[in-house]
Subunit: 340 residues, 2 copies
Amino acid sequence: MVSIKEVAKVAGVSVATVSRCINYSDGVRDQTRRRVEDAIALTGYSPNTLARSFRRGKTNIVIVALPSMGDPFFHEVMTGIQAVAREMHYSVLIRETRFDAMAADEFGKMLVSREADGLILLASVPPFGNDVLALGNKRELPVVIGCEPVAPALEHLPSVHIDNLAAARDATGYLISLGHTRIGFIDGVHDSPLTRDRLSGFRAAMSEARLPIAEGWVVEGYMTIKGAIEATRKLLEHVVTPTAIFCANDEMAIATMHACAASGLGVPKDISVIGIDNIRFAAIATPPLTTIAQPAEEIGRRTMYRLCRAMAKKDSLDAAEAEIVPHELIVRGSCAPPAT
Amino acid sequence: MVSIKEVAKVAGVSVATVSRCINYSDGVRDQTRRRVEDAIALTGYSPNTLARSFRRGKTNIVIVALPSMGDPFFHEVMTGIQAVAREMHYSVLIRETRFDAMAADEFGKMLVSREADGLILLASVPPFGNDVLALGNKRELPVVIGCEPVAPALEHLPSVHIDNLAAARDATGYLISLGHTRIGFIDGVHDSPLTRDRLSGFRAAMSEARLPIAEGWVVEGYMTIKGAIEATRKLLEHVVTPTAIFCANDEMAIATMHACAASGLGVPKDISVIGIDNIRFAAIATPPLTTIAQPAEEIGRRTMYRLCRAMAKKDSLDAAEAEIVPHELIVRGSCAPPAT
DNA sequence: CTGAAAGCGCTTACAG
DNA sequence: CTGAAAGCGCTTACAG
């Protein structure tokens, strides 16, 4: 591996001069610069990133922690993050929390040990509790939360997300406006901040319409296909069957439609289904899924910009408020008035 | 940020001793070790990864280049890669080639400049041509190819994948065995090594059955939903409409089924559709998609193990042969005999 | 078992 | 505009 020393020797200059050529566009005489460039070409030199990062005390890597990259929604958020990262010359290290059962606390440690310059927490990183407090106490680490509200213990951190409570209220409200009165909710994981707000929105809409929520109409679906199919089964076996099901995300909603069809129920004729996210599979589902869209890429971009400001230490502490981005009801074919 | 020097001072030992405590489980007297551990706890010391990597000349990062993480198939491959990476203490840096229009050559440079210790190329990294040659000439860089056959220019690199040609032949053969004679093929990107083999398999099966492939029955679908819908439209508008469509991956197959239904065609009553990959959405599609399954996670695991061997330089050159993993036909509900 | 010292490949004040 | 030199925080022969 050829080092800067060798280039300097070949060019007949000092290593300082070579370094200047690589890093600055001026401050070197044209003639000198040319000699250095020739030497670089000749030797096939490429600066050692390891040494550079070490010297500069900066990895130019940011970590993004999320539940699963396989979720088309999170993937779209990542698209936004990556776009900004590229622009700002950062590489993105992805950690899926379904693998590494890491607490947010441990991610904090990765920053302290200089494995990365910044951290984005996309949705719930369990445990959701106060363990996470340490993150903030650890002297002003650059951390931004995306897609979900911050837990109380993390209120000092900036965040970017939709108003999940309002989104869930809108979804439920749409079903109610269609005439449904018996509505089931397929939750993600209980107690995750993300779905807690969505559940609250569901409850709020039902109670505003003076509609009861029967015991057993709220079922955990774990944000997975398998979980949603199981949850749907429970809902359909209930003594009082709902005429509509609201799923805490689209992947579960698509699985729910499949499970309904497998039980001989027509969607939306016999039962309505609505989701949240508007992933790309929603539009080609059978029937096309009615859902609440999130501006996923936008969330990603904003989150990464926010992190850049935090890393540059240009954010004052009071800049830690939440950025709320708008959601939108997308009416397709999976909801209809209840059968009479 | 507290350094090893400070810990040494607090513990009353040399930095060498602290280093030994951190890195080795023996070679230090118990009593000394305890003093060091106390000092570490007291100061909240965490080794500087930057300095360590630099000193060791090893980043413990591997780069995985792939078309898109949003593809559930590639995500599953990544699951396998990540599992092994964790075990071997590597972090995975993902590069989606749909963002960075980087040639394989440039990825090679990332290795030379020590941004990572190794590289996995998952499926086509354009340009597919000889530019890529440089990768190998660059003195034995640790590179492994996953999911697709290696281009001739890269024959010296190890790879792990299914027999794409045979898989495509099996898919086509299944349609033929059902009685179909007019079969369309929705391709990925022309000239990508991945779909080139799949197209070859399609052609092989047709020609073995002495079935003609009409001009216009092979259409590019770009591996996307949008591309597949457009391709389906072309196929359905053809003067001689196929009675079955073989898609080069599942995501396109699901989109194709949607497009057929939107055109008033029943699947599989009026037209059959088959895919490749067996992504998780295949089983809950309407109708459930018949497809060729790839052992995605297994491919990922094997690819990463292979890379580890290459990085450890334990692989001899002749170990560069391809590992072929088995594929399997999964019969569900999207294929039936042609309507008479 | 432990310490003093060299050195990994850069960047950056500091002189000139 | 250029060079000599210090130093970033570690690890690792080399002595003792």
